[in-house]
Symmetry: C2
Subunit: 317 residues, 2 copies
Amino acid sequence: MKNRIPLNSRSNVLGIDVGGTNTVFSIVAEDGTMAVTGTVKTQDYPTAEELFHAIKTIVSTWDHSLVQTLQGVGIGVPNGNYYTGEVLAPPNLLWSDIHLVPFIQSLFDLQCVITNDANAAALGEMYFGQARNMKHFIALTLGTGLGSGLVVNGKVVYGHDGLAGELGHLTVVPEGRVCGCGRRGCLETYVSAPGLVRTATEIGWLPTSGSATARAVFDAAQEGDSTAREAFNITGMTLGQAMANMVAVLSPEAIILSGGLAQAGESLLEPAQAALEDHVMRSFRGKTRFLLSALDNESIAVQGAAALIYQEHRTPV
Amino acid sequence: MKNRIPLNSRSNVLGIDVGGTNTVFSIVAEDGTMAVTGTVKTQDYPTAEELFHAIKTIVSTWDHSLVQTLQGVGIGVPNGNYYTGEVLAPPNLLWSDIHLVPFIQSLFDLQCVITNDANAAALGEMYFGQARNMKHFIALTLGTGLGSGLVVNGKVVYGHDGLAGELGHLTVVPEGRVCGCGRRGCLETYVSAPGLVRTATEIGWLPTSGSATARAVFDAAQEGDSTAREAFNITGMTLGQAMANMVAVLSPEAIILSGGLAQAGESLLEPAQAALEDHVMRSFRGKTRFLLSALDNESIAVQGAAALIYQEHRTPV
């Protein structure tokens, strides 16, 4: 394995974002520039070993002068544990448990740092996105579920075991909707693409054609359907109210939204911000802003994964 | 003002804990030892300036060889802002807003660092108490209200404005009990000495003699009164359920209880721990312990206030 040497302006890192559907990987420069990017279907490879061997094969076909500048591999992966380097029982993946860091270090002959996908997105925001000048913020990824990365004092919050930052599993409705985690009333059962659809359906919305998707609710809301609009209002308000509690805990400068559902933009942001202001203590009013990610949903976690290597070399803030 | 010089083993700090009733101050060594301690009635002094002048007068009567070793003044005070050095609208004090740090630096000719009383208690636990080997924990002070100090990566969480860590004002019951903050359903309206008494009264407990105090509920529970016991169960469960959400956010190693109500010990701890385990996600089960503070309630915040100075000189963890 290469020694850890100070990165210079021509340093590059291989950033990898392992998603349930696609795994995206790219050579990322310290300014976030992605020189070359590849994608494979995650489910085409039944094991982690096969997936990363396939990535290595593709990377080896890339411009050698670029590949030779690589200083490390940063990986965002569901259940990736920053402390232990392990991935245990990753949701939506076929993998067995794996001690990923030593495997990657040996495969690529480079240092490797991993974290979970939501924390990678938070790092992407901190190094290259909306949070570039922030030391205290929350990044939420709204899609099939609700992922979160918390940043305090310029560092991702991992907790004592690497598992902190599970805001999707805050209980917001006692005895509420059943969640994939086996409990009830978790935030992500309300504030996620399926949560929005369920809320819309519960208040009487029906798709005019096709199936009931978050996209269909959004299109209906855009066309003036008041029930679809109300579904966004309820979803945004649920988010804002839950985040009012998080403001009392962490007092973040911003709550940054990315992921498919965040593409709804103001339909979600406006009721969320209003509910936040309604529910926070007076001393917190008007201080924490909901923001939309300015980064591309496909690249944010790849850039953030690469930042895992860059942060190891930077002076702590 | 003295230059900031590295502290040695014979260094001492003046730790001051400003409470609503008493202000306690002590010369605290780096190992937490309190060589000499003084107390004044906070309300005897209508302004901060008069209070600290009185403290200076008392300290000047102490052993000069000891006073001369002082390297700084650390102060825990309601609404004390670590970042700005200001104390704005402190609850239960008669003071006007004051920029406390420059005033103290000039008065004592020593460096000064301030924080709020709950954060000072958390520092006390981290440097001298139950959290000595922990980098991730929550300290709760249960008394008239519920104060909290959060520690992440070995540092107190202040948030972007110095106001983070207000767990007493987590909304736990929508439209619940009216809180002093002007909102409803805050945790401290249920989990605090008055909250316990209110719960006991609501479920039909009456004092056999004297007035309805937390102490009277405790004594009744000890004597086998089932309603009083149930009041502790409900209070502990409310605490445990709220902390299950905090575990999902911060994944702390422990939640440490101090303050008058914490003296109830197992009556509170047992239902709290049980409710925590019942409500956390599977991956967090059995990992976060409720602990009672081993420090004296009077000294914990004084020692923690002193630690404000010591931490400025230590290598960050």
